[in-house]
């Protein structure tokens, strides 16, 4: 750490055994009290760190039910964020960003830290599969909209209908994943090629997604170590974290790294459902809005193509590692350690998370000259 840091203010909500108010109301009370105590306003806040998960043992893990995350806090305060992602979240890209912040702070002037706990009415241990819908779930679960990627399927329908794509374009994504997985010794689908007819004949799950548009649940773990350059072990092969950002300000990754999308050698893009892979090709301007499926159709995402995508097979090929596989592949590609699937060794983009909750990391082989 090169800067002295301090707690500038503290605030608290009422503490109650139970309440008719929701967890978000308590969270907002505390946040506003802290801002007032520190003598700043909400427009000064440019960072956020929370601990949104598992606030009690019987937690239904319901956003705005017994948990609170940046997604909700942004909405209820209209926060202008300089960086744009929660500093403590579940996605591997967020883990990198949080670690980077811990190793070398300075991305935010004022970080709002917030943890909220809540006793949901009538909630006992292990009632996660409740017949009641708490928090934000009350707006979706009674409809079944939280099941089988329904919300991603609905978004995919909107995208495909608006821009004129069809299931052939989803097949292009799944096909690339299976073919790339064949070069990944760890992939669950490595020895299981898939042909177009089998894909098209598979049962539908949530239109337009069929069975093979969904990633395969697996048992597995992946882990990483991060340190500052001066602490780098001699035997280590570093992939330098030159940029990171979150869904609220995605292009901050280019400002931080001094790169542009044209500099990318590879991209690992989250594909828990096949259609999700299109989101940030459009979002980063790599393709024109609505044209990402054409990038796959024209072969630009293939190994050796203009920008090879998910060279390890993605979640659709490797299995559901919730983005850790994407991060690992970004690391391997940036360090020239991807073996038979190695592409040009250069800036590797990693994106993890749904369209409205993504975060991003840029990994590079060379130590950034402008960094301390």
């Amino acid at each position: 750490m090169t800067a002295a840091v301090a707690i500038a203010g503290f605030g608290a909500s009422e503490i109650a055994r139970k309440s008719d108010r929701g967890i978000a109301a308590f969270a907002l009370d505390a946040a506003l009290a802290a801002l007032a105590d520190a003598g700043i306003t909400r427009s000064d806040v440019d960072g956020y760190v929370g601990a949104p998960f598992a606030t009690n043992a019987g937690s239904p893990h319901a956003e705005c039910g017994d948990e609170i995350s940046l997604k909700s806090v942004m909405g209820m305060m209209d926060l202008p964020l300089a960086w744009g992602a929660d500093l403590y979240r579940r996605y591997p890209t967020d883990m990198v960003a949080s670690a980077a912040h811990a190793l070398a702070a300075g991305t935010s002037r004022f970080v709002l830290g917030l943890r909220a706990l809540y006793v949901a009415p009538g909630l006992d241990y292990a009632t996660g599969g409740s017949d009641r819908a708490f928090g934000a779930d009350q707006m979706t679960r009674p409809y079944g909209f939280n099941i089988a990627g329904a919300r991603f399927a609905a978004r995919a329908w909107g995208y495909m209908t608006t821009h004129g794509w069809d299931r052939e374009d989803l097949w292009n994504v799944v096909s690339l994943a299976r073919r790339n997985a064949a070069n990944n010794p760890d992939a669950v689908w490595r020895d299981r090629p898939l042909d177009r007819q089998t894909y098209m004949d598979a049962r539908m799950v949530a239109e337009p997604h069929g069975l093979f548009d969904c990633d395969m649940p697996v048992c597995g773990a992946q882990a990483f170590v991060m340190c500052r350059g001066e602490d780098l072990p001699e035997a280590a092969t570093p992939a330098w974290v030159t940029g990171f950002s979150g869904f609220a300000r995605p292009n901050a990754i280019w400002d931080m790294s001094g790169r542009t999308p044209d500099d990318l050698a590879t991209a690992q893009l989250y594909d828990g459902f096949s259609s999700m892979i299109w989101e940030w090709l459009d979002g980063f301007g790599i393709t024109e809005p609505g044209q990402a499926p054409g990038f796959f159709r024209d072969g630009h995402a293939e190994p050796g193509g203009r920008l090879p995508v998910n060279t390890f097979g993605g979640s659709l090929g490797e299995g559901r590692m919730h983005g850790m596989g994407h991060l690992r592949e970004g690391y391997l590609q940036a360090t020239d350690r991807a073996g038979t699937r190695q592409q040009e060794t250069g800036p590797a983009l990693v994106q993890v998370g749904p369209f409205d909750d993504s975060s991003f990391v840029l990994l590079e082989p060379d130590r950034p000259r402008h960094a301390a």
């Binding site: 506003l32 209820m76 409809y143 089988a148 995919a156």
Partner: protein
């Protein structure tokens, strides 16, 4: 209008808080009801603890037109609720009076199949049994 829908499996019962009760009370009465900030006039999403614009905490309940703009649509082929009937059509839409506020709705007739994103919907609320009243979307302007 509240409408009866043939009963399927029991749905998870929404647990309102002080913030969302206006919405669910409105749903039971068959009307799309949100809160409007008495300070700046902005509509509040069902779960919002305060006005996202001015942070005001005073609201008046307001019955809206029920008009909404179609955003997304999916046909679920697996039960969205335990034991639920399939296929089931779900839509995601934006409230016409303030498109920043999104809602999920059922399409019980499948009539949204011919629509495109941006097309108008009309929302009503249906009694799903067990004290659950859910938004139902149909093509076109509100009745």
């Amino acid at each position: 209008m509240t409408q009866s829908t043939p009963n399927s499996a029991p749905r998870p019962v929404p647990v309102p808080t002080a913030e969302s009760r206006v919405f669910w009370d409105g749903a039971e009465a068959g009307r799309l009801t949100l809160r409007r900030c008495t300070g700046c006039g902005r509509l509040a999403a069902p779960l919002a603890p305060r006005c996202a614009g001015c942070l005001g905490a005073e609201f008046e309940a307001e019955t809206l037109s029920g008009r909404a703009v179609l955003g997304g649509r999916t046909v679920l082929h697996v039960p969205g609720i335990p034991g639920g009937a399939t296929p089931a059509t779900l839509v995601q839409c934006a409230v016409a009076e303030d498109p920043r506020i999104g809602l999920v709705a059922l399409d019980t007739t499948g009539a949204t199949k011919r629509l495109r994103p941006g097309d108008m919907l009309s929302l009503s609320f249906a009694d799903m049994g067990g004290g659950v009243f859910l938004a139902v979307a149909r093509p076109g302007a509100a009745p």
